[in-house]
Symmetry: C3
Subunit: 160 residues, 3 copies
Amino acid sequence: MSNTKEKSTIVLFSGDLDKAIAAFIIANGAAAYDHEVTIFFTFWGLNTLRKDQAIAAPKGWLEKMFGWMMPRGADKLGLSRMNFGGMGPKMIKHVMKKHNALTLPQLIELAREQGVKLVACTMTMDLLGLQEGELLDGIEYAGVAAYLGDAADARVNLFI
Amino acid sequence: MSNTKEKSTIVLFSGDLDKAIAAFIIANGAAAYDHEVTIFFTFWGLNTLRKDQAIAAPKGWLEKMFGWMMPRGADKLGLSRMNFGGMGPKMIKHVMKKHNALTLPQLIELAREQGVKLVACTMTMDLLGLQEGELLDGIEYAGVAAYLGDAADARVNLFI
Amino acid sequence: MSNTKEKSTIVLFSGDLDKAIAAFIIANGAAAYDHEVTIFFTFWGLNTLRKDQAIAAPKGWLEKMFGWMMPRGADKLGLSRMNFGGMGPKMIKHVMKKHNALTLPQLIELAREQGVKLVACTMTMDLLGLQEGELLDGIEYAGVAAYLGDAADARVNLFI
């Protein structure tokens, strides 16, 4: 602590649109308060960082299957409830637009502008067969040790 | 910190009965330990605070639809698993009664008696079209900045 | 704090395989960093600790039904998404084996070797009708007060 910045970390485990939105709203709020913020994307949370186009990548059969089944990027995520086969996310996006709320891709962009550290969990990338070229450019890659290093210095640590 | 009270915060994002019960048990426990406790209700968690009767409120079509589809109050929430179309919550309520455990409405009442601060997220209220008259009387209304102000002073910060 | 060890706590509320794996990977990482780590198992998270064989225990009808319906132990848990009636967990276990990642039972074993404190929530055990003989040997039993005692001294407190 001392005279350094406050730190906050979020583990984004979930691949749900609503939870990702909540995570980025909190992260952006903390960054606006001048916290050093890290979001550590693991398991389904990694889907938030996927590019929306298909990226050619040499993969085994099972990795390909995970790649097909998982949503490709922030704009393709479903809701944790009331998803209704994709109708729910459309409704949420509609009301967010109506209220001039930032979309998830815009929230991600804002986070990057504010210097929020976006870190992809390399262990889960291995498991799910995701490769660096498939994720947004300019993010960081690390394991649980790096996350814990940040979290041990932070006061607000959330698992979403 | 210094000689002030310990603080704890919970973001209740989930609209599941079991998670809401867990949130209030932790909050009430912390309040009993003399922590200053804030629960910040956002997204589906706001349903916990809804009054159980229909409240007339001028709304657009989409807001009305959200209002109809979302559970109206603590007594109407479903389970995060084993919901079985409402049988699961009945089973849980039955065993809770059998063991003289407090119901969710009673846990909320206890939290209020203990001075737990219940804060409804105004941004999500806008999005889902929920209005102050539809939520329990006497709660507070704030945005993510207020939550972060509390969380930055707290040691136990959970996202449920 | 002073010169004592750093502390970390995790509430494992979820009964999902993927979330349990994440919880134990974080817990084992923190223990490797010499943190004092507590995992507090509550609600569906208790299923992680169940022995995989049926244990004779005198129970009422509803407790028996919970016992039948809930997964019996770390090897029987489903995924929070892409479960596909049990195919998803098989896929995840397959890729974990392929990458020489520890299985959940091995992660639990490692946690115990590293001195991670595994605590079963006695209140939920009562509610779900789980008895000590049905859970892994050598774990601890406590209520929310004990959890809060640990969490109030810890810096990393997660709810999973």
